[in-house]
Symmetry: C3
Subunit: 340 residues, 3 copies
């Protein structure tokens, strides 16, 4: 028997019709080792569907885990045994797209727990799987049950505060990975990969299936699918084009030690040590005047032809209005390539 791809056991919320709204997995796993996989298979036979474990199954799981010395996970499950809330377990033997709410949430947890990087786990179709929910001071509430709950809470004097009406909750409701700061937590969605040493300032944003290698300073917007290498700095209000809405089809990434200036933007991928000056938006179709070390115009190129190259500096010439590309840090290898 092959090892399991992922396992999660968590506690979640259902609506009045008994449908899952969301699930919190305190200790999800990916690429389980053979022993752990064996334990799981011994307790749960029905892979692929959501399992609402019986008290007996939970006891068996704790015993099996303890006797195999998986004490940490056993401890988590013992805590789950004490609740009257809905418990659910999800197991996948392969990396499959999510078909249910508990599966979707497990995939998003894998990303935010840094167990997989963006694009490493299959989340295709997740928009269709997740439900639009009100995230409130009373927990997750089905949109349809909201008017009644709002009136009720008003009349009882216990305010119902709604932070978010969305398919994706904020990450920190589920996990706060080690070594990060997020000044306004509403700006990072569950499913973001926030690398250690990342600071997300008030104007920063990270979508799901996107993120930073860490350490990084994020004061601009990292769209779905985008990944930024370590040391790169996304300036205040800077934009990186995604593929979901208004953007193109290329999945964008930034290498290491790049700088997107404040209010700048990129519609192309950048290699390492690239800079886009403050206020300049480089789209794939921008015609770039490429300069050599002596700042002579050597050729024109569409920005997308420069996509992914390193040591580039993009600016708009403040006298001529032309968008220019210089070699950043006067990297010789790059220059020779630009001249060819």
């Amino acid at each position: 028997m092959s090892s399991l791809y992922t396992f999660g056991i968590g506690v979640g919320t259902k609506n009045a019709r008994g449908e899952w709204l969301e699930v919190y997995y305190p200790a999800p796993l990916v690429n389980l080792d053979p022993e752990m996989s064996k334990v799981m298979r011994s307790v749960f036979s029905d892979l692929g569907s959501d399992i609402e474990p019986s008290p007996e199954q939970l006891s068996s799981l704790v015993s099996a885990l303890e006797s195999n010395n998986f004490k940490e996970l056993a401890g988590v499950i013992k805590t789950l045994q004490t609740t009257d809330k809905c418990i659910v377990a999800v197991l996948q033997d392969k990396n499959l797209s999510p078909k249910t709410v508990p599966q979707g949430y497990l995939k998003l947890h894998l990303l935010s727990h840094r167990l997989v990087k963006p694009h490493q786990t299959d989340i295709s179709g997740i928009f269709g799987v997740l439900k639009n929910i009100a995230w409130t001071s009373f927990g997750a509430i089905d949109i349809e049950e909201l008017p009644e709950r709002m009136l009720e809470s008003r009349l009882s004097g216990k305010p119902l505060i709604i932070d978010c009406v969305d398919k994706f909750p904020k990450m920190v409701d589920y996990v706060v990975p080690k070594g990060i700061r997020i000044a306004d937590t509403s700006r990072v969605r569950l499913g973001a990969y926030v690398g250690e040493g990342t600071t997300v300032m008030h104007e920063g944003f990270i979508n799901f299936n996107a993120g930073t290698e860490g350490p990084n300073m994020v004061e601009g917007r990292i769209s779905a699918g985008v990944f930024c290498g370590s040391g790169s700095d996304i300036g205040g209000g800077a934009s990186i084009m995604g593929t979901l809405s208004g953007g193109g089809t290329e999945v964008i990434s930034l290498g290491r030690q790049c700088l997107l200036g404040a209010n700048s933007g990129s519609g192309i991928s950048l290699g390492d040590r690239c800079t886009i000056e403050a206020g300049l938006y480089v789209t794939g179709g921008t015609i770039i005047t490429v300069l050599d070390d002596n700042k002579n115009d050597v050729r024109k190129a569409k920005a997308r032809e420069l996509s992914g190259q390193s040591d580039l500096l993009f600016r708009r010439n403040s006298v001529t209005g032309a968008v220019e590309c210089l070699t950043n840090l006067s990297a010789i290898e790059l220059n020779s390539e630009l001249h060819s």
Copy 2:
């Protein structure tokens, strides 16, 4: 007797001096039908001033509504009968500007319940009517009562969280209209008109008396007074100039299927199917180089002369720095007009 323009009965908060701070109307009405108007007039004689109904009035209202088969509203009022909170009813026989806090809140509710579109109801003077309030985890609190409450809550170990200090609360504290998503609810004010199928992403914003026809994707800022037609996409960080501060005097609207690129901006109205490329801000005074189908320069125009026209694409030429206007989708009718 003419039919009533609007009716609302709700529950609200007063400060220690007995002044209204805010009111929540679960089921506001506009342009009441004659039967409903008659019911209201039979119970409430004093139109135009805020009514704090007696228990007897509430009972009469429920009876009159039930006997006229207005069961839904009767149900809401029956729920209100159970509370010890402050109840208020507002009736207007004409569309008049708000003179009191309950009237102001009713007007804002009409907009967010999609009962009227932006500019359809008179809210002139509302800034002077509404009070600056702290919106907290304990509900609305008068600013002057705040220091004492903050200290008290600290000492009792029950944190007082303040989300907003403003005259306008966030919309979802009062209504979550059908078929929308708002990723960060603090970004949509009560009084916004959020059309069905609208998604407001984390960087999106909608002010009061402004909004979207729906469906729309909103990742930028829709200023007070601005209305966006269906299918239009406001890119991340895009700005639409309002008339309140720093902007001009023209009330701006966008037609259908427009695209404001990320970090772009508009100081003019757009017709249908217009695009402003990412990073370009078109103000009314921007001198536009108008191009024909062959990209020949046919004339110069101030952007405000193009205001409201359809099928335009605005870009900054990345070689010459000139702001250009092309015909979007090569619409022939438009081109001929541009040539004239």
Copy 3:
């Protein structure tokens, strides 16, 4: 004996190891008058270190304050006497950099209580002093204690909402100074100086040791260290470069009645009555074409050479793409200087 520089007594939170996480000072003082200083010195002998006062010390302090007619502060301390939370007092006889969490919080309080302006109190090294904390619906929680608390709160059905994971909390958790509005309170950090009459809209942001003289409209981002004179308007999404990350080394200030247009930015200081048009980012290195009253090109200058001058209007010529500087309001003195 000299007068004390600052005094604060407050209530705060410690982690499980007994380390201070944060402190709330309801009534901090700066530049104490000699009588008040004498009272403090009579009760607290140990200046410079954090004092956790005994019940006897609190009683002595109340008596000494009352007998010297400092009734307001006496009243605050009497309220503090009723709590079982951790109390701490900080006294400094000189303006010294903070060495402990209670000292750091006191400095930030001085700024947000408007007792000192940005750069007037020594906060050097504060990043190293403050701890990264989760700011939650249950108050401040140590990051390391978070996973356990999150699971616990889930199982008990009382959601733990985390608003912020950062070294700096939002200002309004500690003080709401008089005469301001902040539409989204998560956007103003403790340590911001928010002058009376300032409105911070949803897209506005003010960092610590930065702020506005008031009245001001803030719809853009005021970075750490930046100060804006009265009447200046920071447009939606506008950026002011700070010195912490990605910016230069010059501490930027804006004079009075300046306007930063929407999505504009400044990397230089501005004097009074300057305007940067919507969408234009002026960095220190931007080459500016300086125009005279007849809009003739009189010279080129790097933007940083114009830093701090008054009555300038910056725009990007929409035909030539050149960044130009005109004299705003045709101020004659300025013009003559520009011609020289």
